[in-house]
Symmetry: C2
Subunit: 218 residues, 2 copies
Amino acid sequence: MRIKIEQKILAKNEDFASANRKYFKRNNILCINMISSPGSGKTTILEQTAKALKNKLNIAVIEGDLYTEYDADRIRKTGLQAVQIETKGACHLSAEQITKAFHKLDAEKLDVLVIENVGNLVCPSDFDLGELRRVVVLSTAEGDDKCAKYPGSFAQADVLLINKMDIAKHVDFKISKAKRDARKLNKQLKIFEISAKTTAGMDKWFNWLLKSCKELRK
Amino acid sequence: MRIKIEQKILAKNEDFASANRKYFKRNNILCINMISSPGSGKTTILEQTAKALKNKLNIAVIEGDLYTEYDADRIRKTGLQAVQIETKGACHLSAEQITKAFHKLDAEKLDVLVIENVGNLVCPSDFDLGELRRVVVLSTAEGDDKCAKYPGSFAQADVLLINKMDIAKHVDFKISKAKRDARKLNKQLKIFEISAKTTAGMDKWFNWLLKSCKELRK
């Protein structure tokens, strides 16, 4: 019974995800599903991305949080469009929520749509939102053992951003271990070491975004 | 239909939780459900607690993780008993899992049982394990906005351990904001500022454990 219900929920999600993906492909919108633990620095990464690329790319953000509009407010201050989804306690975003939130955005000439998922390294990885790329963020403060302990999120990602490299030495984070574990799960994974606070290393992430948008338009 | 099934799952969990709680009360075992995001430092807190208190209290640990036996191995090195539950992808522990894992421990003369839940600030807060106390850990690296964004975990806790105070200045963590938000949700909450790395501030946590065990035996 539980399994049947779960299949039904996932099947409904898959219908919306599939429609979303078709729309994003047809309209050359690089839709990114960004997944991480709470406090890994997703919003700060997006603030810096906005500052660096807003004259080159038209970017919008859908923010997912249990409660509060904090993150959408932070994004709007950078000049980007942002829609907040409050899940009221739910642990992940669904494809249907994305469909509805997307309608609130001015999508004309949009190049990139980033979905900042609920801070949770477990549940969001099971729910396809119709994204074209998946990005997982791991902060050094979380420890270098997290890829092995939470494999789902890392196995299905296109990009791993290892954030807070500026404090790696204070939290005994071994970058070689984290990268080795991540590559064991996912040979194709692109890994960028960054500090969203200092912006160190972020140029590679910006270039990946620019290149991915170009490839989509081909 | 979804709601009925969810009620059924929660009702079954409640039956096991209730039986667990009765057992722990009858046997004066201070059972603690420890909840946090991935990488907040739960295992390091328990390692330091083991070192400081193992001659004063008989402590055992049940470790919850999606995959790996890493954390139980770390606890066993301190000399404590530890049982690992691998949830194989599930996002929280259930009361039934605790009942089964507990049978693997030598419970004679046990004073404290700590359940280190799956690293997830969302789902575990909805599942009563039959614990007598709930402890939530927030690391400064996660940011001072997390109490407001993930209220469920903080509203239902007895103790909040704010960990990684040693790096608070590197991550712009405002302790007054975090404490104010936490107290808004939960007036009874005891808050201890600690660094499990340096052990600074941990004596208050140790004293709380000793005092709580004494109170239980009255």
